[in-house]
Structures are given as structure tokens and as C-alpha cells.
């Protein structure tokens, strides 16, 4: 049984931001619920108020335009991303990462924004968003601010989002459309599992970027590389950026080794 909490399902953004400001730190936002309700169940989170964001007007769907880029909102699910034709055609790396996240029925419910605001080191969506130069648009009663994902994660389960704020939009810039990329995730089993190591590699206009999960306190971006760099340079950059731990799922050395294996494979596979 879950512990008790109050519940609100605001219909407007103003109402939602008002509740967040009022209950500062004592409220939790509910989107897919696939992390929040588990955290409440095991006692890791004890919110006084749970605020369902899915009824807020304008908080669903994915939109794409050359001027605005690709925009994902608080109720945009992982399967919404996988079903979106613009994502498939223009941002295949997002589909790659989404496809490796959990199981089908979780992808029906879990949201892209939930996957990044929880700031798990093993977030599957973060590697793609980091590579694609996405930005977070964060809102509160005080106003709105934009933070690039490269500056978004602050530690294990910590982000720049404050208690009275909501990550309201993820914007992937139009400039990243057409980027080629793949994601490789090491798991204990072939099916639904948390990542042991995840590596995304993107190539676009001569640039090469890596987004790496489960290999540091936060998902990380390795930037400043070029498509024509030799593989030794790229591997060295990846090795220099990661700082994995050993834990119940594998040792530190194995993580380091597998990051290198994935970087080498992806470098050859991403044409």
C-alpha cells in the first residue's frame, strides 16, 4: 500500500505553477508515475501532495517545425516518441534511445521529461538529448528559463530544476535534424532491464558527439570531437570523461571496458 498523500489534477498551467509555489518542496509531479509511484511505495519519497500534470492543457503531444524545432511536453510518453514520424525521419537517435527504455507497457506510460528530471545516471533518453544539443525550458511562477542539457544534470538524481519549477518543454533544435546516430545499451538480459552502460554516438556536419549513461554520477556529453578524428582520439576522450563506479551490476573496470567497446563499434556503425 502507498502512504497517504493529497492529489491534484490541475487543468491549467497557472493552477499547476500556483500549487508548486505554494507547496514548495512538499509536492511531487506525477506524469507517467513509473518512477514516482515506485519511490513512494518504497518510502524514498514522501510527498504531501501529488500533482498529476497530464490534465494540464497544452502538456501533451510532440510538435515539429523548422522555426521551433522538436518540442516534447510533460505528458509526452516514450511511445509517443517512437510513433512520431518526424522523430523517426529527422531525429533517429531519439527513437534509438526510446526503444531501449524498459518494456512496451512502461513506454506507454513513462514520459521523456520524467526520464530526465529523475536524473538517474542510467537515463536512456539523456544520451540522445545531450548529443542532439537539446535544451530544457523550465517554468515557475517567477518566469521561464532555458538550460542546455549539457548543464542540466547536477549529480545523482539532482538537476537544476528547483522545487517550485517544472521542466515544461524539451526542445531539440532544428539544426540537429538529420543527425545520424545509434545507441547501444548493455543489460543483464536482452529484454526489459536497467542499463549497465549506455553509449549514444552522433555524427552531423563533420562533428561527432557521445552521450554516455551509467558511467558517471550523471549522464554525460563528450563534445568537441570530429567525424574525421581517429578512433584512438575518440576512445581517449570517452575514457577521460567517464568516472564509473563498481556496483551490484558490474565492476568499474567492466564499465570502462564496455564504454570503449561500444564507442569503437558505434564509430564504425554510424555511417
Amino acid at each position: 500500500m502507498l502512504q497517504r498523500f493529497q492529489y491534484a489534477a490541475p487543468a491549467t498551467r497557472d493552477e499547476l505553477l500556483g500549487l508548486l509555489a505554494e507547496r514548495k518542496g512538499r509536492a511531487r509531479l506525477l506524469a507517467g508515475g513509473t518512477d514516482l509511484l515506485v519511490n513512494i511505495r518504497n518510502g524514498a519519497m514522501k510527498p504531501e501532495l501529488v500533482i498529476n500534470v497530464k490534465k494540464v492543457q497544452g502538456y501533451s503531444g510532440i510538435t515539429w517545425s523548422r522555426s521551433e524545432g522538436l518540442v516534447m511536453r510533460p505528458a509526452t510518453t516514450i511511445n509517443d516518441v517512437l510513433r512520431d514520424k518526424n522523430v523517426r525521419d529527422l531525429f533517429p537517435l531519439l527513437s534509438e534511445c526510446a526503444h531501449d527504455l524498459a518494456s512496451y507497457q512502461i513506454r506507454n506510460r513513462a514520459t521523456v521529461i520524467g526520464n530526465v528530471v529523475n536524473a538517474s545516471p542510467c537515463s536512456d533518453m539523456a544520451p540522445a538529448l545531450l548529443c542532439l544539443g537539446a535544451k530544457a525550458v523550465i517554468a515557475s511562477k517567477r518566469g521561464e528559463r532555458e538550460v542546455p542539457f549539457a548543464e542540466f544534470f547536477k549529480g545523482v538524481k539532482k538537476t537544476v530544476v528547483q522545487d517550485d519549477e517544472i521542466l515544461e518543454r524539451i526542445v531539440v533544435p532544428a539544426a540537429s535534424s538529420g543527425a545520424r546516430g545509434l545507441y547501444r545499451k548493455l543489460k543483464r538480459i536482452n529484454g526489459h532491464d536497467l542499463g549497465i552502460v549506455g553509449v549514444a554516438l552522433m555524427k552531423k556536419d563533420g562533428l561527432l558527439r557521445l552521450g554516455i549513461s551509467s558511467s558517471a554520477p550523471t549522464p554525460i556529453l563528450v563534445d568537441g570531437l570530429k567525424e574525421r578524428d581517429d578512433i584512438e582520439t575518440i576512445v581517449a576522450a570517452a575514457r577521460g570523461a567517464i568516472s564509473p563506479i563498481g556496483d551490484v551490476r558490474c565492476s568499474k573496470e567492466y564499465r570502462e571496458y564496455m564504454v570503449e567497446v561500444f564507442v569503437k563499434r558505434l564509430f564504425a556503425e554510424v555511417k
Binding site: 512502461i106 506510460r109 526489459h192
Partner: protein
């Protein structure tokens, strides 16, 4: 909070506590005990149901979130006393042993066949990746899904023969 839901075509209206999961609401308040609680954390899929046409783990949905929704559970799978095509195939291929996973498994298979009427073995494995079965080792379930999707020959060739 007052909640209205439709379950397998029947309308229900109940008062429910805010912190109650949809799974517990279905089982304890409405009596739909075919939906099971395994892990309670989205790992095992025994609680899989349809919520407004999409499969979800009902252990990770609040009952209050489902207000106004149409829900389908394993109890709605057989129609007019007749098993569905999926249930018959599960029966033929011995894809049920203890039965604890079966309700959720059938829900995931139904969603898979709705979007992929003739799935490959790999597509079947992916479709049921969120549903654990600790008895069958999955082989019989995969064969049952092949059979239910009109691929009986493949089902019969699928390694072990069970029927």
C-alpha cells in the same frame, strides 16, 4: 475522491482514496482479481491491463488518475462464454502453468497482435518483454502467439512440441 470507470464495458462509480493504485482498486474494490500483483514496481507485468486502449502496469497508476477511463482486464477476454483466440492458443500450447502471469501476458499479447498481426519470434519476445513468466521458460508462450496469429506451422516448428 469520486471515480467513474468503465471496466470491460460495465460502468462503476466509487469513492476511492487518493493513494490507492488502480491495481488495488480493481482487485479490492471492484473484484477483478484476475489482474495480479507480482512485484508492484513495474518489473513483472502481472498487473498489465488496458487503460484507454493502451497496456499499462496498473500497479503504477493511481485509481484517481483513471477517472473517466475505459479499462479492459483479463475478465473481459472471453466473450459469451467462449475463450478468445489468444486464450485458446495458450491452452493448446500449454502456455499456462501456474497461471499467475497469464492475465497480464494475454493483455500484452493482445496489444502486440493489434499493432503487429503477424509478429516474428523477435517481435513476440519484445512484445512480452515486460511480462515475466517463471514457469514456462517462454517457449510455449511464443508458440501460442505464433499460433494465435495464424502462423501455426511456425508454432509447430518452434523447437519443443507441446500440443
Amino acid at each position: 475522491m469520486r471515480v467513474h470507470v468503465t471496466v470491460n464495458g460495465r460502468v462503476f462509480e466509487r469513492d476511492v482514496e487518493e493513494h490507492k493504485t488502480l491495481l488495488r482498486f480493481l482487485r479490492e474494490d471492484l473484484g477483478f482479481t484476475g489482474t495480479k500483483e507480482g512485484c508492484g514496481a513495474g518489473e513483472c507485468g502481472a498487473c498489465t491491463i488496458f487503460l484507454d486502449g493502451k497496456t499499462v502496469n496498473s500497479c503504477m497508476v493511481l485509481a484517481v488518475e483513471a477517472d473517466g477511463s475505459a479499462i479492459e482486464t483479463i475478465e473481459g477476454e472471453a466473450k459469451d462464454g467462449r475463450l478468445s483466440v489468444i486464450q485458446e492458443a495458450f491452452d493448446r500450447h500449454h502456455a499456462v502453468q501456474c497461471g499467475f502471469c497469464t492475465g497480464g501476458m494475454v493483455m500484452s499479447v493482445r496489444e502486440l497482435l493489434q499493432r503487429t498481426p503477424k509478429p516474428s519470434v523477435d517481435q513476440i519476445k519484445e512484445g512480452i518483454e515486460g511480462n515475466f513468466c517463471r514457469c514456462t521458460g517462454y517457449q510455449q508462450i511464443i508458440e501460442a502467439v505464433l499460433d494465435a496469429s495464424g502462423q501455426k506451422e511456425l508454432a509447430d516448428k518452434g523447437g519443443l512440441k507441446h500440443a
